[in-house]
Amino acid sequence: MDFDVCIIGSGAGAGPVAYELARAGRQVLVLEKGPWYKTEDFNKDELACCRRSVYTPSLTEERHVIEDEDGEGGWQATSTFDSGNDFWNGNMVGGSSNLMSGYFHRLKPVDFRLLSEFGPIEGANVADWPISYDDLEPYYAKTEKIVGVSGRVVAHPQLEPRSTADFPYPPLQVNEVAHWIDAAARRLGYHAIPTPRAILSRPEDERNSCYYSNYCGSYGCSSGAKSSARVALLDPALKTGKLQIRDRAKVFKLLSDNSGKVTEAHYYDRRGEVQKVSARIFVVACQAIETARLLLASPGPAHAHGLGNNRGQVGKNLIFSGGGSGSGHFYFEDLSDEQIEKIKLPGLFVNRALQDWYTIDDPVFGRAKGGTIDFLWRHANGITRANRQKWQDGQLLYGLPLKRKMERYFKQSRHLRFEVFNDWLPTDDCFVSLDPNERDRWGDPVARFRVGYHPQDLRVGRFLADRAEKLFREMGARDISSGVSGAPPANLQAGGCRFGDDPAHSVLDRDCRMHDAPNLFVTDGSFMPTGGSVPYTFTIYANAFRVAESIREQL
């Protein structure tokens, strides 16, 4: 055996496993497809982060095929190379946790038992989790401490139980507009809560504190404050001498024997040559779509249709996040000089959320699972903001009128946004398969996924967006608008390898060990039967810490 544990992927699902097992004295190998950027390699170049393929592969070399509704009751498949709809996230050591905004809300007890709580929904595959919130809670606390989450606990009607009184790091500094949100919420009877962030508010060991760069989401962090799997977990784990990371190592197949056990990982190294690694235990954490793809591409003597796929469950019940977003404008002509000076201060966060309707109990809407509303400034990216100004009432604006509009936008106003998160219900029309035709640059079939959504997702999203708009009106924002969409966000993937006690309806057991392959674990978001109404990364980190204990016991 080359290693005790071989981990495929290096993001939020991989980091905790590498950290715990290396510190336990085990020989761990991490294989990461992308390159290894260090903190000093990151900067705030808008072209690099957001307008060119620097952190993601070129679509000519690696792509997806997406099946979308064709408008006539059927499905149409288009490769992302043809559509230009890039579905990659950050491919690098630490994964997309290097680029996340780090909104770290926990799931709540109700999320673990949606079927029992609300009953089945026609056309959706809602299922209870095999574990409860209490099983995961200690690991949320552990993630807050080890990975680094800053915030402030406030009592509110939907607050989940906590074993620790508060977050280990104090809340980040906020912009004046956060207080406007607080005041407006109070007047409406809402409960504005501070948003916990996976960002350090003070230095810790080798990581510096946040310096309020104003360019957080989509960018790598130049201080080490953002709690990526790389700086929070992999860098400390490397110090044990027990962890090896191989970057530019693209795993394309897992081999297994007659008993179903995984024996080897095969990968292309940076020269394109095939390398093989053996280990006692394998962990897959490539993000839900690529994880399902790897498993489907790895048939074996006991896995005729791909690893773990004897009952056709791998890739099924893929989920994203439902919701939408909206915006409101504050024009300086409506504000006092003092107000203008305060909200113009760049870099400070908004960090406010509403979870009053995490469960909805409304006379008109009924009783249903709801979601979260997060508030934030429009992203500071200049090119993106400028580009939005060229459209006016459906017409292209140019020349002097365009320039005047740009001046008003940049210099005479500020723009607040909200993002709605609600459950993307698992359905039979959202799943991963291998594409029969498209190949990646190594000649392997790419992932194909259908992105059907459930109408309930939009109903809940609209309900929440309406309440967010009401808050914006109460704040005095103008030109308020919002949109709710069934389009899948690429950075919020889960499902595809549901965990459960019944092998007939799940791929993994409650410890995220594959039912049919006792030495294979899946620790990214694939395990989730339902997603909850919050971004996934916090739960992925916490669950990976939980699963790491089972792996350690098994070794």
């Binding site: 170049d45 070129s58 559509s83 200049g382 459209w391 140019y398 020349g399």
Partner: protein, 207 residues
């Protein structure tokens, strides 16, 4: 004006269709007199060539001819004119910036080809409707042609794409050749993030 065979690459179909009010748009676009103030006379063939020669080497089939480059500068000046206190396309090297993008083999080839083709389709429209070359048209005539293009599928998408790269030239870090001395940032009081890049970006997969 027919579409002929002028397909718009998917990545460049960024149109939003809301209700139109063409009359008020024409008024706001100031087509009546403001455009005469534009310094077309400032274009010298020599300076255009110098800009072109400074761009890096790439797939040479995307290098603009002298006349295509002139057409581009004129279009960019209409889309984003220079003013005393607010930079325009020429102040941010927008044409040289776009030439560099066209020679960047990592930028989608269909989109690059489309940007170049648009300069030739523009010329075809000029000859068809005004019976002269675009660079020889009078300023008001060019204005009218650009405005006419916005009513048409490929024209609106093409102009929107040219504008996008003007915005890049306006607000990207000056190491990319635009935004001279941060003039774009200063105009819009835009504060870039720190740290700024020390060298140009490296594409995924390049060593």
């Amino acid at each position: 004006m027919t579409d002929k065979n002028r397909p718009v690459p998917p990545g460049m179909r960024d149109m939003k269709k809301w209700s139109l009010n063409r009359r008020s748009f024409l008024k706001k676009a100031g087509l009546a007199g403001a455009m005469l103030a534009l310094p077309y006379a400032g274009y010298k063939l020599g300076s255009a060539v110098k800009d072109m020669e400074e761009t890096p080497a790439g797939d040479e089939s995307y290098r603009l001819t002298r006349e295509q480059f002139q057409r581009l500068q004129i279009v960019q000046d209409i889309l984003f004119p220079s003013e005393k206190d607010a930079p325009g396309a020429r102040d941010i090297n927008a044409a040289a910036y776009l030439q560099a993008v066209l020679l960047d083999d990592h930028v989608d080839p269909d989109e690059r080809r489309y940007l170049v083709n648009g300069l030739d389709w523009l010329e075809e429209e000029a000859r068809e409707r005004w019976e002269k070359s675009f660079v020889n048209m009078l300023p008001l005539e060019r204005e009218a042609l650009i405005e006419h293009l916005t009513t048409h599928n490929w024209g609106e998408s093409w102009l929107a794409s040219v504008l996008l790269f003007i915005f890049e030239a306006l607000l990207s870090d000056p190491i990319y050749g635009g935004n001279s001395d941060g003039v774009g940032w200063k105009w819009l009081a835009h504060v870039p993030g720190q740290p700024r890049p020390e060298h140009k970006l490296k594409y995924y997969g390049s060593d």
